[in-house]
Subunit: 517 residues, 2 copies
């Protein structure tokens, strides 16, 4: 089936607060979207936004797309101006894309208040611009902006916009719930009526009512064969329909092959790549691709997934390149500890004494403010301790000085066969300590200088723990292969994060080669 998975991350997605992409960033995102397998990539609005004009110029030389078509976005001609005299329309042609998507008002109220023209002139603007672009050899899609609001206020006019666009040569007319206020029942009803026009319909939803994904699916149920989405649901206000959620729902549940099975199995990695480029923190609970999407905490669920993971998972996580995780918390019993140990690669079923000691220490440490569910590596280190595995180093002493905003740190360690000394320089205490610690370990582990402190987060713990000023710190480090998170608790944030950091580095060192579990 000719079904369009149409991505507008680079245009509508960049309306999200805090999302500021360079032209280089936009090219990188386009490559990731193409690799994933979307059909169309809307790159921006040439002529209106200088950065977007530059994007299309560079894209012509630098962007070799495997499958996707690049699309330029723009508006219908200005009121009372001949289409060939409109510089904005000329800029759309100058972008040299094979497809152009035009936005046009489908709500009479907007025509009057925002465009400040007549309903008749608005239809002429649509007709002229679509015809002009198709004559110039472009495929044209038309975004019927505010279609659903327009349908409510003046149904006949909204439908007329759809028909005029199609008659003029628009290949698809995209019904836009621009303000995101339409609920599923109403959207389904409106789609059903609009489908009787016989025009090929698309759908573009916003999430202001929390229904963007569902509305997109319901539009497909009603006959739409073109869906507009953005990576991670980026977009203005509450965002747009989420590319990843929509693609997986369509492919896995509605059996519409919008992307290949292989692409789908890389989806979580694609999502992470795009989040790395945009520097917007991905939502942990995001459907399909979120870190927590297949994470189990409840005791009953944990024991059931041990029998059969499908009992508490709607799909196999591997189908979208994600994986199942279970969490250790103060509710963890022996079964959860055995399961988590197994997940980490240790078979402790036969050493029931170890399991008992670990369970006891988990409960004790959780009471002090540790939270193992946020730091699985701390649990693994605790397990190794109880299995009698010796730590790779012991801390002898450490100190820091600061001047001019820069922190100097030095550490002295006991390591196998002697001492290790290291010094570090950073803008924060933990960055300087990290460098110093890795310096001290470098003689015996040369590649450790390449490891990286990914993040350090702190929480204040409330007074009920008996330590009014206590802080919980979770530190994440990577050796380039994997990320390891550990937790530390202490009266002050620097010591808490420093303890966590030492544990994280210890764990990576201990688990680089297989350990007898």
């Amino acid at each position: 089936m000719d079904f369009h998975l149409y991505d507008t991350t680079l245009r509508d997605g960049t309306q999200q607060e805090g999302l500021v992409l360079t032209v280089g960033n936009k090219l990188e995102v386009a490559r990731a979207l193409d690799t994933f397998g979307v059909s169309f990539i809307e790159g921006g609005w040439p002529g209106a936004i200088p950065k977007d004009t530059e994007f299309f110029r560079r894209a012509r030389h630098e962007l070799k797309l495997r499958k996707a078509e690049l699309v330029a976005f723009g508006a219908t001609r200005r009121p009372d101006l001949a289409v060939h005299e409109d510089p904005q329309v000329a800029a759309l042609l100058a972008a040299e894309t094979s497809v152009v998507t035009l936005v046009a008002k489908a709500d009479a109220r907007h025509v009057n208040l925002a465009l400040r023209t007549t309903e008749t002139e608005n239809l002429a603007m649509i007709r002229d611009t679509v015809r002009h672009l198709t004559r110039e050899g472009r495929r044209v899609f038309l975004d019927a902006e505010h279609f659903f609001d327009g349908y409510r206020t003046s149904r006949g006019y909204a439908l007329r916009v759809v028909e005029v666009a199609a008659e003029a040569g628009a290949e698809v007319v995209v019904l836009c719930d621009t303000n995101g206020g339409t609920l599923p029942d109403e959207l389904g009803d409106i789609l059903t009526v609009t489908a009787t026009t016989g025009v090929r319909l698309g759908i573009h939803c916003h999430d202001d009512s929390g229904c963007a994904v569902a509305n997109t699916l319901l539009a497909v149920d009603a006959g739409a064969t073109h869906v507009q989405v953005t990576a991670h649901g980026y977009g203005e206000r509450c965002g747009n329909a989420n590319l990843f959620t929509v693609a997986a729902n369509l492919a896995l549940k509605k059996r519409i092959p919008v992307v290949s099975q292989d692409s789908l199995s890389e989806m979580s990695a694609v999502a992470q790549t795009i989040a790395d480029i945009t520097a917007a923190q991905p939502v942990r609970a995001a459907p399909y691709v979120g870190v927590a999407a297949f994470t189990h905490k409840a005791g009953l669920h944990t024991s059931a997934v041990r029998v059969d993971p499908s009992l508490y998972q709607h799909i196999d996580p591997e189908a979208v390149g994600n994986s199942m995780r279970t969490l250790i918390s103060d509710m963890a019993g022996r079964a959860a500890i055995e399961l988590k140990a197994k997940e980490l690669g240790y078979d402790v079923a036969s050493t029931s004494e170890v399991v008992s000691r670990v369970a006891l220490r988990v409960k004790d440490m959780e009471r002090l403010g540790y939270a193992f569910e946020t730091a699985p590596a701390s649990f693994e280190l605790l397990l190794l301790d109880e299995l009698g595995i010796k730590r790779p180093f012991e801390m002898d002493s450490w100190r820091m000085t600061i001047s001019g905003g820069r922190v100097d740190a030095s550490v002295r360690l006991e390591v196998e066969g002697g001492h290790g000394l290291g010094a570090g320089l950073g803008f924060t205490p933990i960055a300087a300590l990290d460098q110093a610690l890795r310096g001290a370990l470098a003689p015996s582990h040369p590649d450790i200088v390449e490891w990286r402190l990914v993040s350090c987060q702190c929480w204040s713990l409330d007074g009920s723990l008996g330590k009014p000023a206590a802080t919980r710190a979770v530190v994440t480090v990577t050796d380039g292969q994997r990320r390891v998170s550990t937790v530390g608790v202490d009266d002050d944030a620097v010591t808490a994060s420093w303890l966590a950091l030492q544990d994280a580095i210890s764990l990576v060192l201990l688990t680089r080669e297989p350990i007898a579990g």
Copy 2:
């Protein structure tokens, strides 16, 4: 209408990764939910989780609920055990709530694999437990776990569970999409059939397909009169249907008065209160209550909302206690700057030269890496500079030393009529500098010692800005009344955040009394 808005934040919501609530936290959340006006608050699972047993014990004395009923959650009796001998059922009664919600398997596969009992025994467990609790004077709701999966695999059995529960005396049977995998079309179809049983139905949705809110609404369309939700959609994996989104959709769009108009207009504040208690960062793009829910960035949208905000907003933000914001970015023209200035309370329409200078400086500073959309207070300070308003202090000199993980900072300022000196101690450079700066300003502004540094976030900027190691820092401070965010850019993170902090404190000082704009 007797419609149940049933909140399970304290039970199902706490299955979310990283959500670790003390009993004190749980009591606070219950108070916030009651103030908001939910009908039922599910408090936890007494007997199974020690913290929850303690919660119900303390709730009896410490929790005076205005409107909501507290609910204890638990399971049907164990297989092959008389109901009055089951300690888990006894613990439910011991919680002394007027309502008990029982979870029961509605999927034959789960009965066999997870419960390891027969389908007949499962029905007996439901019948016995519901009868036992109703005889003891409890109102009973029954969560039909995995109902939708069960309907797919063995429709007759799933429906039988619904009927048996109702016959035994359950007031509501709640259809649970426990794994969150059901799409709207299928859910609607199943609800329509199930409604023919004549049993009062509830709905409990998870967001694994991104459809939890829509599915909840579609169930209501099909006749459900009891909706289970959690604050912020907290919950295991991808979370549950979001209380705030569902409540606003039902009240404002479906005209079902689940909470009063007054409560609704406090909803954004309630959402913030609960996020403060759980310490889980609220999603900025969350429908209705998110900081970004009514935020406009696109140039065309910004000029349209100047004409009529309803052109790009699905509801009036004040109806849910939120407000409209517009963003200043490198795309901001004179119109956007005038609008943003007006939003901040300055009428600059008549001083076109100021607007031009501000527009120029915004573009210049954005090129250096500043991002005004994340720091509206920096824009306001820039505006004040161009309006000729003098800063409240100038930095003379500052220094820091660190030892044992503690940072000492000292600053010397020029202030009106002389110098200010201050010293500070903290665990991070910015915390120490913050204290030192406020100390230096305290003689002229005594209440400044109560102000607080809320957060400090840093981003590395890419090489395209010509400064390979540059950092953008955004700092937020509060004087107890409002939060103010400013941005700083420099080669190192400490200086970037220190510049932003000075600006934030300057702005609060400058704008405490009305300024002639």
